[in-house]
C-alpha cells in the first residue's frame, strides 16, 4: 500500500510589520492626583519613574473596546481588510475573564471570524511574545496576515495606596499587523522566562482568595443586615473607597522594585544585545530603541549599558503614558512614527520584560 503524499503549508522566507495602531484612553491621571493616595510628591514620582501623567480608561470601556480601537487603527494603517487576517492574537493580563478570550470577541467585532484567535499571558513581554508568534505563523505558512494587540486595563488591578507599582500603571492598547514580505523585516526573537522569580512582580492574591473572602463575608452578615448584606456592603465600600476595602477584596499588582530594576537593566541588556547579534546588526545600525516603558530610569540605564549611539531615537512614551504593560511597546512605536515619520523603514530594537518573569526581544523594520 502506497502512502499518499502529504501536503504541508509552504514556508515563507520573510515577514514584516505592516502598520501600527494605538488607543489612548481619555482620562488623564496626574502625579498630583496620585499623591492624594500615597504620601509622596510630583517631584518624587518624576525623579524615580520619569512619569508625569498616565491615561486610564473609564469603567464602561473594556479591554476588548480598547483592543478594537487600536486594531482598527492598525488595519487602516496597514491597508489590510479584517477578512484577510489569518490569526488574531491579544496579549493582555487584565481581560477580566479567564475564558472566553478577548481575542475571539475582538476577531468577531472586526469581521475577522473565523480567524483563529487566542490570548497571550506574558505581561509586559506580551507584545514581543505576540510578534514572535505572528512571525512564526506567517513564516510557517500557517497564516498570511496576523493581528497582534497589546492591551491592558491595569487600573482595574491597582491599589491606589500601593507604593511599589500602582502609581506607575496606565491603560491603553497598541496593535500591529504582521505579514509576508519580500525582504527581511523581523529579526530572530530572543525570548524566555524565569519562573523562579515569579514573586517579584505579582498580584496580591488569586481569584480563589477573593471568592473565599466574599463567601466568608456572606457567612457572617453585619448585625441587623439581611443575609448577604455584609458582602454587598464590602463590595459597595470597595467601589466607593478605592484604597482600603478594595485592597482586602481584590487582586492588585505589587512588585519588588529594586530586584526588578536590577534584572530589567543588567539581565535585559544582555537579551537586547543577543537580539542585535541574532539579527546580524550592531547598535550603530539602529534607527530606534523601543523598550518596554516600565520606568525611565530602567530605559536610561539600558541605553547606557547598550552604549547606544546618539543617532538612535529612544522611545520615552512613559512620561505621558505611564507603564501600560503589554501595550507599551506598540504605543511607543506609534508615537515615535507620528513624531518622526522619517524613522519608517529603519531598524528598531524592541524588548519587553515583566511578570513571570518573562522577556522577549527582536529587531524589526519599522512600518
Amino acid at each position: 500500500m502506497s502512502t499518499p503524499a502529504l501536503q504541508q503549508a509552504p514556508l515563507r522566507e520573510y515577514t514584516r510589520i505592516y502598520g501600527v495602531g494605538a488607543y489612548r484612553p481619555e482620562v488623564i491621571v496626574t502625579n498630583d492626583d496620585v499623591v492624594q493616595w500615597i504620601d509622596s510628591s510630583d517631584e518624587w514620582i518624576r525623579q524615580r519613574t520619569g512619569i508625569v501623567t498616565r491615561h486610564r480608561a473609564p469603567r464602561d470601556v473594556s479591554v476588548i473596546d480598547m483592543a478594537e480601537a487600536a486594531a482598527r487603527d492598525a488595519l487602516a494603517s496597514a491597508g489590510i481588510d479584517a477578512k484577510q487576517l489569518g490569526a488574531v492574537l491579544v496579549s493582555t493580563v487584565t481581560h477580566p475573564h479567564a475564558t472566553p478570550s478577548a481575542s475571539a470577541q475582538l476577531a468577531d467585532r472586526l469581521g475577522a471570524t473565523p480567524a483563529p484567535a487566542y490570548d497571550i499571558s506574558a505581561a509586559c513581554a506580551g507584545y514581543c511574545y505576540g510578534i514572535a508568534q505572528a512571525d512564526a505563523l506567517v513564516h510557517a505558512g500557517t497564516a498570511e496576515y496576523v493581528l497582534v494587540v497589546g492591551v491592558e486595563k491595569l487600573s482595574d488591578f491597582i491599589d491606589n495606596s500601593d507604593r511599589t507599582i500602582s502609581f506607575l500603571l496606565g491603560d491603553g492598547a497598541g496593535a500591529v499587523i504582521v505579514g509576508p514580505s519580500e525582504t527581511a523585516g523581523i529579526g530572530p526573537s530572543v525570548w524566555g522566562s524565569d519562573g523562579s522569580k515569579h514573586e517579584s512582580i505579582r498580584m496580591t492574591r488569586s481569584l480563589l482568595d477573593t471568592r473565599d473572602y466574599s463567601l466568608g463575608a456572606l457567612a457572617t452578615p453585619a448585625p441587623g443586615a439581611s443575609e448577604g448584606g455584609a458582602a454587598d456592603e464590602a463590595i459597595d465600600g470597595a467601589a466607593a473607597d478605592p484604597t482600603a476595602e478594595r485592597a482586602a477584596l481584590w487582586p492588585t499588582m505589587v512588585q519588588d522594585g529594586p530586584t526588578v530594576f536590577r534584572w530589567a537593566v543588567w539581565e535585559m541588556a544582555k537579551v537586547a544585545q543577543q537580539a542585535l547579534d541574532a539579527a546580524g546588526i550592531t547598535s550603530e545600525d539602529l534607527a530606534a530603541f523601543i523598550p518596554h516603558q516600565a520606568n525611565i530610569r530602567i530605559i536610561d540605564e539600558m541605553v547606557k549599558q547598550l552604549k547606544l549611539p546618539d543617532h538612535v531615537s529612544v522611545a520615552r512614551d512613559i512620561v505621558d503614558a505611564g507603564n501600560t504593560s503589554a501595550a507599551s511597546i506598540p504605543l511607543a512605536m506609534h508615537r515615535l512614527l507620528e513624531e518622526q515619520p522619517e524613522l519608517s523603514g529603519g531598524l528598531a530594537l524592541q524588548i519587553g520584560f515583566g511578570a513571570g518573569l518573562v522577556f522577549g526581544a527582536q529587531v524589526v523594520v519599522l512600518p
Binding site: 529594586p258 543588567w266 530610569r297
Partner: protein, 81 residues
C-alpha cells in the same frame, strides 16, 4: 584583596558617578538613605557597579541590610576574603 580604605575609596567613586555626591562625603558612618539621600534604584546601580569593581556577588536580599557605607564596606571585605 582590597583593604577597607581601598574599598571605601572605590565605593565613594561609584557613589560619585551615580549621584554626583563629593567622594569625601561618603564616610563609613553615613546612611545611604538618610545622610546621602540615595534612593532604592540608585542603590541597586551602586551595588551592581560595586560587584563589578570588587569581583563580589551582593544578593538582592543582602542589599536591604546595607544601611550604612560601613555595612557595605564590611560586606564587600567579607565577600572578598
Amino acid at each position: 584583596m582590597a583593604s577597607n580604605e581601598e574599598i571605601l575609596a572605590g565605593l565613594a567613586e561609584i557613589v560619585n558617578e551615580e549621584t554626583g555626591l563629593a567622594p569625601e562625603s561618603v564616610e563609613m558612618d553615613k546612611s545611604f538613605t538618610d545622610d546621602l539621600d540615595i534612593d532604592s534604584i540608585s542603590m541597586m546601580t551602586i551595588v551592581v557597579n560595586a560587584e563589578e569593581k570588587f569581583g563580589v556577588r551582593i544578593p538582592d536580599e543582602e542589599v536591604k541590610n546595607l544601611k550604612t557605607v560601613g555595612d557595605a564596606v564590611t560586606f564587600i571585605a567579607g565577600a572578598q576574603a
